[in-house]
Structure formats: C-alpha cells, structure tokens
C-alpha cells in the first residue's frame, strides 16, 4: 500500500489553479521531495493532503485513508510542520508539546515522558521552560518539528522546513529528518525550494511548477535523464542571446540549447572537449562571451530543462535571532 496516493488532486482559488491535477504514489518509509519555487503549488498540495484544505477535485489517500471521508483518522496518523512554525509565543516549549500530546490523547506520565524525550531529540531541554517568544528561528523550527512527532506518526509532512534558516540550523534539521527516516522508518513528505536539500535528502522527487508535476524520479535518475554535460555560456549583450543559442546549437555534438538568465545553456556530451568548439564558434560569429562553466547535470538543470527557467529561491527576511 502506498503511504501517500493521489489522483487528479486539484485546488482552484477562484480563477487561479493552484494545484492542477497532480498524481502521487509514495512508498512507505521513503523521503519524498516536492521541489518547486514559491507559488508553484507545494504548500497547497500539503494543505490538502493534511486535511487543512478541501480539494476542488481529485482524490487522495494517506496511510490508506481518504483525506475527505476519514479526515480525523488521517490527522491521527500524520505529523505536520508547516512553513511558518505554527507556535504560540506565550507558552513555553514544554507547555506547547504537553498540550499537543494531550490533544492527541496522550495525557499523564506517558505524555510527559514523550515530551521530555522529544525535547532531548531536538536539543531543547535547556530552553524547555522558557517562553517560545524568546526562541531563535532555528529553535522554533526544531520545536515545531517535535510538535509534529509527539504522537509518533508514521507519516510526516514538512513544508519548507529550512527556509530562512542559517546553515547550521539547516544542517541540524537535515540530520533530524534523515534520522527519522533511517531509524524510525517514517515516511516523509518534504517540500522545498532548495536544490541542495532535495538532492541530499530525497529518495524520490517530484518537481512542481504552476500546479503541475513536470518531472518525477530519484534525483540521480532525473539528472541521468539529461544525459549530457551542461555548458553555460554567459552572453553580456542581451540582444545577442538568441543568435548565440543558434550558433551554439549548430556546433557538432550539441544536443540542445536553452536561454536562461542571460546565458546560453548548452547540453552536450563530453562538455570539456566541446566547450572550446562552442566558444570559438561564438567568437567567429562576433558574439562576445562572458563566463563559461562546465558542469555535470544538476537538479537546477533538470528544473531548467523541464520549465525553461531556473528555480528562483525567495528567502524570507531573516527572523530575529535566526541562529540555531
């Protein structure tokens, strides 16, 4: 049985098709990455799968339960940490986790023990009895993650868990997420706008753009599908870009060329040998060349190939005290 399954899942907000008929089939125990830029439909998808939003059309099952008909049972089996750490600044960390445990029916000593255990796991024992309002951004994310784990869910939804965090806090969250998957066998549905995060954590990945899944597979499979090296040639004169793409496309061995962010992105096997031919051809055509880079295909190249544009990462304003 799939941990998460969806068919034709759709959400419209008036005229806007936020999620436009996506299909999912996620195996138990895997980390599923859902990669896309802001506004692509990641959060709306997660809000439907976690029963916070009713789909406009389509169906979905989480741990075998229908998200419409068995919404409360779904909520018992999932843990969720949304993009904005949903916390109450007036409570202490311990009070928040204790309340969360009680709402999941875990009262008494079992609840207290679980809270203490989680505070240890996310390294918040020392801050447990301080008001959450005094926590840094990284501490809030860790507490939010702990709140999602109070009732030992089999499936965990994480909506951009590291957006806006500094590298040390990000690394800590990655460590917890990997641990949850490998040690506890939890299925993790993780949305992200960070290529590195998707590449590093996800066993299985889907790229979403404008509400539709445009590529699916493991990060390695996706990159292998490109099948070539990527030569990125920056062209300083914007009006010469189309001509540069045309000239580069005519170079022997070049499979295809895309234009993105002031550069011609050339897909060619054995890029190290081809780069000289490409630069010479551009020079012969009188096109000025800026920086040139050769790389193995990255998820950014996968994204570019599928969407025609690079993934744009939007960082929020750093939160006060954003350190771990």
């Amino acid at each position: 049985m799939s941990a998460i399954w969806a068919q034709g899942l759709t959400k419209h907000f008036d005229e806007v098709r936020a999620v436009d008929g996506i299909d999912l089939d996620i195996a138990p125990g895997t980390i599923f990455g859902f990669l896309g830029q802001n506004g692509s439909g990641k959060t709306t998808t997660i809000r439907m799968l976690t029963t916070l939003l009713r789909p406009t059309a389509g169906s979905a099952r989480v741990d075998g339960l229908d998200i419409r008909d068995d919404a409360r049972a779904v909520r018992r089996r999932i843990g969720v940490a949304l993009q904005e750490a949903g916390l109450d600044d007036v409570q202490t960390g311990r009070e928040l986790l204790t309340l969360q445990a009680r709402l999941f029916g875990m009262g008494g000593s079992a609840g207290r023990q679980r809270v203490q255990e989680l505070l240890g796991i996310v390294d918040l024992e020392d801050a447990a009895d301080r008001a959450i309002g005094t926590y840094s951004g990284g501490m809030k994310r860790r507490l939010d993650l702990a709140a999602g784990l109070v009732h030992r869910p089999g499936i965990l939804f994480l909506d951009e868990p590291t957006t806006g965090l500094d590298p040390i806090s990000r690394e800590a969250i990655w460590r917890y997420v990997t641990q949850l998957s490998t040690d506890d066998g939890i299925t993790i549905f993780l949305t992200t706008q960070y290529l590195e995060e998707a590449d590093r954590l996800a066993h299985d990945l889907a790229i979403i753009d404008e509400g539709r899944i445009i590529s699916r597979g493991s990060p390695a499979e996706m990159k292998a599908r490109i099948g070539t090296d990527v030569v990125t040639v920056q062209v300083p004169a914007a009006d010469a870009l189309d001509r540069a793409a045309e000239v580069a496309g005519d170079v022997s061995g070049v499979e295809r060329v895309q234009i993105a962010d002031g550069s011609a992105v050339v897909y060619v096997p054995d890029g190290a040998r081809a780069v000289a031919r490409i630069v010479l051809a551009l020079d012969d055509a009188g096109i000025e060349v800026g920086d040139v880079a050769i790389s193995r295909p990255s998820l950014d190249d996968v994204f570019l190939e599928a969407t025609g544009h690079h993934l744009r990462v939007e960082e929020p304003q750093p939160a006060e005290g954003g350190a771990a």
Partner: protein, 253 residues
C-alpha cells in the same frame, strides 16, 4: 468526551495566556470601571429624582460587567487572529481534536475571565456601597449568568476573527455591544425613554440581561427577570455560536 477534554485543555491554555498578559486584563477591567465611575459621578445624584432610582451605583454595576465582557471578547478575538496569523490555529486544526471544540476552548476561557472580572466589579461596587440584595446565592447566580453572557458574546468575536482574520475587524467586534448597551436600559429605566427608544430597548436582549443582573443586586429575587435574562443570554449565544460554526466551516473548507 474528546470534545470536553479539548475545550478544557484549550481553556486552560487561554487562561494561562491571560494571566501572562496582565496589562491587557487590567485594561479590560479599568476602562469599564472608569465609565462606571464617571456615569455614577455625573448623574448619580439626580438619579433618584429623575428616574426614581435610589441605588444608582448598584444600577450601574451590570453596565460595567457587560462592558468588561465586551472588552474581554475583543481581546480574545485578537488572540484567535494571532493564532491564525502565526499558524498555531492550523497546528490545532491538524490534531484529531474536534474543530468546534478547538474554537470553544477560547470561548469558554472568555466565560471564565468574565466571571473573574464580574466578581471584581461587584467587589468594587460593594466598596462604594451598592450592597447585594440577594446575598451569596444571588452572587452565584450572577456569576453563572456572567459566564454564559461572556461565552455568548465571545462567540460573535470568534466568528468575526475566523471569518475575517483581521485584527481591525476583531477590535471593532468588541464595540458591537456598545450600541446595544446605549439602546437598552443601561443608564435609565424604560419609562423615562422617548417612545421610539422604549421600543428599541424592549426588543433589545441586552435590556433583559441588565435587568436580571440588577434585580439580583438592587431589587431582590425576581424570578421573571432572571428567566428573561437567561432567555436573552441563551438567544444571544444561539445566534453567536451559529455564526461561529459557519465561520469555522468557511475557514476550514
């Protein structure tokens, strides 16, 4: 059973929030007491001749109680909006707790806060010589009634908060009660009103809530007044809780 437990836990959480925000609670009680003092100070001395009311200070105590209830529910509306804006409301919705119980936790806390402030205002009234004609049993009835009215009025602000998510709308929600107070027998009995105002005061549920409370404080036991007050509170609650359920359904659909 799960609903009751949810309401209980979330009521405790809201009360803890209130205790940790004493400035807000002070505002909830001081502003009504200020108006109480000004009203009694300005027309208290002529009330006996003008309206036939000997104990005008006691006559005004229920007005201060209702104004405090209004202030409390406005601050609770803001609390709900803060939860929505911070994403904590979503976190509560993501638990298996019944969603209506999640909203009623804060509403019940407003009832408890109204009881506490009612007791305080009655205490202030006693210091100023209002007396309490029905004694301790009457005080208990008044506190129960205040609990009911606090919850009933809080429902309107919960509905506004859930439907709009706007702090400005929530703050304005607290003011909704003031026109109803002015169109009731808050400052004088109905028999001195102009005809049009008498009609409005007669159909205004706040009139019955005030008169039930007054009967307990300055008139002695009057079963009919208490029944009318209870009916008005129940009607108020039925209307406000219906709006709360509709707003909750809208927010979670």
């Amino acid at each position: 059973m799960q609903s009751i437990a949810t309401v209980y836990f979330l009521t405790l959480r809201s009360l803890r929030e209130a205790v940790r925000n004493p400035a807000q609670e002070a505002g909830n009680v001081l502003i009504p007491l200020f108006f109480f003092a000004v009203t009694v100070g300005s027309i208290g001395s002529i009330a006996a001749d003008a309206f036939g009311i000997d104990n005008f200070t006691g006559f005004q105590v229920p007005v201060a109680i209702l104004a405090a209830a209004s202030s409390i529910s406005a601050s609770a509306g803001l609390g709900t909006i803060t939860d929505i804006q911070r994403g904590y409301f979503d976190k509560l919705l993501l638990t298996p707790a019944p969603r209506s119980a999640i909203v009623f936790g804060r509403i019940a806390a407003d009832g408890v806060r109204t009881v506490a402030i009612t007791a305080f205002i009655v205490g202030v009234g006693l210091i100023f010589g209002t007396g309490f004609d029905t004694g301790v049993p009457g005080l208990l009835v008044l506190l129960v009634g205040s609990f009911g009215f606090g919850m009933a009025y809080s429902g309107f602000n919960a509905a506004i908060a859930l439907r709009t998510g706007s702090p400005q709308a929530a703050a304005a929600g607290g003011l909704l009660l003031f026109p109803l107070i002015f169109l009731s027998t808050a400052f004088a009995p109905k028999d001195v009103f102009a005809d049009w105002l008498e009609v409005l005061a007669t159909i205004n549920p706040i009139t019955y809530v005030l008169e039930a409370q007054r009967s307990l404080i300055i008139e002695g036991w009057n079963g009919l007044d208490i029944l009318w007050g209870a009916a008005a509170t129940l009607g108020f609650g039925a209307a406000s809780f219906t709006l709360t359920f509709l707003a909750l359904r809208w927010r979670t659909s």
